[in-house]
Symmetry: C2
Subunit: 218 residues, 2 copies
């Protein structure tokens, strides 16, 4: 099929789009920058993809494919903790992907595979269909929402957030938002704090809650 060397393909287009978004941000991902990344003229891309929307769909699905799938039949808490951690890591590697999720209705094959496998893992652990739906809704909401918050953090985790705080927490602000200021100064701004740690705390809280549900088999 590949007539000439290094022929363009849909996967190569998607991969290049991901690379550009990772490197320069989602807004920098234009048909022209993408073509440049591929070493090709802008219009060449359109023979492998109908439009930019399709590229974004493909990119989201590619991101999903990076998430490690749970082992069906393994301990569900272990597997789900692993999957959630992997999802968070992937979404941290591609922060722009979270914003894309919201606008994409049609899931791709990797996304469907992901969900199917997760459902299988829950069912194998004795969760009822209904419980599985509940469990996935909570966990996925938490993971996505956490990713949204991480993406909107103005610093790159444990970077000099003092500077950032200084910009926001001036004297007047501190007076108007005393509780926010307290939280920031006595906790968030302490050395060693990492918002990322909240992920494990929250996830454990949710997994504990799910563990408490009455279940058929263990």
């Amino acid at each position: 099929m590949a007539r000439r060397r290094d022929a363009l393909t849909r996967p190569r287009v998607i991969a290049a789009a991901t690379a550009v978004a990772d490197r320069d941000g989602l807004t920098a991902l234009t048909m022209r920058s993408l073509a440049s990344e591929l070493g090709v003229a802008p219009m060449a891309v359109y023979h492998h993809v109908p439009n930019k929307e399709a590229i974004l769909d493909g990119v989201v699905d590619a991101v999903f494919s990076e998430i490690t799938l749970p082992d069906v039949g393994g301990d569900w808490r272990t597997e789900m903790r692993m999957r959630a951690a992997s999802a968070r890591e992937v979404l941290r590697r591609h922060p722009w992907a979270v914003g894309l999720l919201e606008s994409r209705a049609a899931p791709g094959p990797a996304t469907l595979t992901h969900h199917d496998t997760v459902i299988a893992a829950f069912r194998a652990a004795g969760f009822s269909v209904r419980q599985t739906a509940h469990a996935m809704a909570v966990i996925d909401s938490f993971v996505y929402g956490f990713a949204v918050q991480e993406a909107s953090l103005p610093f790159d985790d444990s970077e000099s957030l003092d500077e950032v705080a200084d910009g926001i927490l001036d004297a007047e602000t501190a007076e108007r938002f005393p509780h926010l200021t307290e939280l920031a100064t006595v906790y968030v701004l302490e050395p060693g704090y990492s918002f990322g740690d909240e992920f494990d705390l929250g996830l454990d809280l949710i997994l504990d809650g799910l563990d408490r549900l009455p279940r058929a088999a263990g």
Copy 2:
């Protein structure tokens, strides 16, 4: 200050932007459509706002201001349930807002007020600073993530999702994703199902988990 009648103001600009986004979607919110909504020439807007980014910042803050604040000193579970429900409802009214959250680093005054009040409510209920941070991280992640998922649903909740399902769940798909198909057919596609119900379930699970934390005073 308002020299002529119906003078443009920053709040009016933000409100009009919100209206356009609600009515026609975020992509339809352009400087030109916004100006048209205001009955004004495109460039007129720039005398009240430095650029489009500032409008989006303002819109996000305006959305936050719509969320009902918790009553500091009230029962924290009741208050937080109410706040979360309000937040979800607001984000359902403005589905495009979720995607904006991710790209906006600088919080506006309404956003700061919101967070400050929530912190105050937790602290008043006996949560330590650290526990408050944990609690907010879980709850907010859940709420945002749930909103993301709701926004990406291809149907308007309890609309004819049979049609949508028919499009996705053809014979081949059903074979490749058996667990997904099972979940869909025996639960999601049953009459009376609403993804929104998962919100209350998940929220209760989280609030239960928070309730189990050792706390100073009630």
